[in-house]
């Protein structure tokens, strides 16, 4: 046993040729968020606080598809969603359709703690945000030129894009197809086996207004109980129908699989190119499997292991720090 933390900045068709100018800030952001999370765990902050603060950092980074840097709907707007779950109590909170709230994950937490409900969306969620006095900003805060470009490319290709392709340069290699990034998330466990999970996203590039993905759906993109905490990323529709996050925990509980086995089983059964996840168990284990080309991810455990990566381990360009 011991604490453990894992976080992701999205799974998808991250091409191996992804330019260094794009990689460096993302790797730096992952490292920074990991350090924040580790410091908080070492300071004995409850896992629920840890996952929230890490996801806030990821939301504030323009590099990832959440908060600032969210991808755009077909109307050129942002509609953000997030979810947080406390594995100890199974209390949870979720929000969708946010357009002005700087940190969706924190609003999700407030829904959990300050309303009799679990999930608030759109106008009702925005109204709640104002009642609670959370930080809000004009849409210009969230919208980046990269994402304006992505939307333009997606419209030209007449398809819904799950974020990451190379079209910053205006070309959409058809071999890549709909690449699947989006979403940031964090899972953590403390030395007592208390688990928590948090996920946040802007959703799919060029999504229909009002489209809700897997992130705010308990059991799909986010889940935590006494066995494990899971945060998933990829093609929302696939994650919903496969109830990815819940299934990892259910396989551990009902079929007696280990965390790694359960996570691998779920990933294998989801269509290739569609999903990645990070998960920690009550025993302090970590796993970060994905069936996409890559997944921005990082993890650390109390025994000193840590890892930051994009592609499967062993692929050129991957960063690993086996000794911290």
């Amino acid at each position: 046993m011991g604490w453990a933390i894992a976080l992701h900045g999205g799974a998808g068709d991250i091409p191996l040729s992804f330019p260094v100018e794009g990689r460096a800030p993302r790797e730096a952001a992952l490292r920074h968020c990991l350090e924040l999370g580790v410091a908080a765990l070492k300071a004995n902050r409850p896992p629920l606080d840890v996952v929230e603060l890490v996801v806030r950092e990821l939301e504030n980074s323009p590099c990832f598809n959440a908060g600032k840097g969210s991808v755009l709907t077909t109307n050129g707007t942002v509609e953000m969603e997030a979810c947080i779950m406390d594995g100890n109590t199974k209390k949870c909170g979720a929000v969708s359709g946010l357009s002005t709230v700087v940190n969706a994950i924190s609003l999700a937490r407030l829904v959990m703690e300050r309303t009799p409900h679990i999930y608030l969306a759109f106008d009702g969620a925005e109204a709640f945000a104002r009642e609670q006095g959370v930080e809000t900003a004009h849409s210009s805060h969230f919208i980046t030129p990269e994402n304006v470009e992505r939307l333009k490319n997606a419209k030209e290709a007449k398809r819904v894009q799950i974020d990451f392709t190379e079209p910053i340069k205006g070309t959409i290699p058809s071999s890549i197809g709909d690449s699947q990034i989006g979403t940031v998330g964090c899972v953590a466990v403390d030395g007592h086996g208390i688990l928590a999970s948090a996920t946040s996203t802007g959703g799919l590039v060029n999504k229909m207004a009002g489209r809700i993905g897997d992130t705010p759906i308990i059991g799909a993109g986010t889940y935590a109980n006494s066995y494990c905490a899971v945060s998933a990323t990829g093609k929302g529709e696939s994650i919903i129908q496969a109830t990815v996050a819940r299934d990892v925990a259910a396989l551990m509980e009902y079929k007696g699989l280990s965390l790694k086995e359960a996570a691998a089983y779920v990933i294998e059964r989801t269509p290739k190119g569609n999903v990645g996840l990070v998960a920690v168990s009550a025993n302090g284990e970590v796993t970060m499997p994905f069936n996409t080309t890559g997944m921005f991810r990082a993890c650390a455990t109390e025994d000193g292991y840590s890892e930051i990566g994009i592609w499967p381990s062993g692929i050129n360009g991957d960063l690993e720090y086996p000794n911290k």
Partner: protein, 328 residues
């Protein structure tokens, strides 16, 4: 080939003091819906078509809390939600925050069949409804006088009225009967002795052994605008896969925390329990303090109910001619 089976529910948690005429009225609606579903199954319709058809019937009838007769938000408006899942392929569709769509379950079906997404909500869902040309009406169509007075009472008590009742202590699932005469029924601190309508749902297994589920609701009386409950959440209020189909009702927040519908299926799939064992286990072990009920069918043609409330409006029919509608 499997014997087909269909189950319907009109909500978990019933006031034992509910006037007999209201009970009869509810029974009649459920019977009618079962007949509609059975006819569809005999005609060879696939499970997913049948659950949609039956839930449409339940939505249209004002007796239950969905479509017309939906519970009201604290603003006095109706915000409806629904979901549908076809176990054959595990395709799904869901909608939330509908204010003008006459049959939310059909819009959920269109999301599944005609959009690249699984879930649309609020303005975006309403816009999609118009694009698809589904029948829309003024929000006032859905509001009944009965619900307006219930909302008033809920506001006076300054609480949310869950559409269920807290049973007497020690009441177990499925076999729950009328335990004790006048039970002190409390919901969120409020004593209830008035009939309140419930969420509706339908689960079906067709002759090919394919399962499907659909659930529809107006949600909680006096809920915050924008509140989403379990009914549109795949894995919570609704779930269907190759093994079974489940539709839940009751305290939405408890159903979400326990991912109740998926859990029943996971117990069958991963733990190898029978359908009824899985249902009983989920109700007993997964709800903690939450009050809820569910209906389920399996790919083998079995039907199961489970609830830890006093009563659940429910019914089922199977190909061999068995028909049942019951409340307690």
């Amino acid at each position: 080939m499997v014997g087909w089976a269909i189950a319907v529910h009109g909500g978990a948690g019933v006031d034992p003091g509910l006037p007999v005429e209201r009970q009869e009225e509810a029974r009649r609606v459920l019977e009618r819906c079962l007949r509609v579903g059975a006819a569809g199954l005999r005609a060879g319709l696939p499970a997913v078509d049948v659950v949609e058809m039956v839930v449409r019937e339940l939505e249209t009838d004002p007796v239950f809390n969905s479509g017309r007769g939906s519970a009201l938000t604290r603003k006095g408006t109706v915000e409806m939600e629904a979901s549908i899942m076809d176990g054959h392929g595990r395709r799904c569709g869901a909608v939330s925050g509908l204010t003008t769509v006459k049959n939310p379950v059909s819009l959920a079906r269109l999301v599944m069949d005609r959009s690249p997404h699984s879930y649309l909500a609020f303005d975006g869902a309403e816009e999609f409804a118009r694009e698809q040309g589904v029948e829309v009406v003024d929000n006032s169509y859905f509001i009944t006088e009965e619900n307006m007075s219930m909302l008033k009472r809920a506001k006076e008590a300054n609480s949310i009225m869950y559409d269920y009742r807290v049973p007497a202590p020690g009441v177990d699932s499925a076999s729950a009967g009328l335990e004790g005469a006048k039970v002190g029924l409390l919901m969120n601190g409020l004593r209830i002795s008035v009939y309140a309508p419930e969420t509706v749902g339908c689960v079906v297994v067709d002759s090919n052994g394919w399962c499907a589920a659909a659930t529809s609701t107006g949600g909680l009386m006096n809920k915050m605008s924008g509140r989403i409950g379990d009914s549109p959440l795949i894995g919570s209020g609704t779930y269907a896969c190759g093994d079974c189909a489940v539709s839940c009702t009751g305290e939405g927040e408890a159903i979400i925390r326990s991912t109740l519908a998926r859990d029943v299926a996971a117990l069958v799939e991963y733990k190898g329990l029978s359908l009824q064992e899985a249902v009983d286990y989920a109700i007993k072990e997964r709800l903690d303090e939450g009050m809820a009920g569910l209906i389920a069918v399996s790919s083998n043609g079995e039907v199961a109910y489970g609830f830890n409330t006093i009563g659940m409006f429910r019914g089922c029919a199977t190909e061999d001619g068995f028909v049942e509608v019951t409340i307690w």
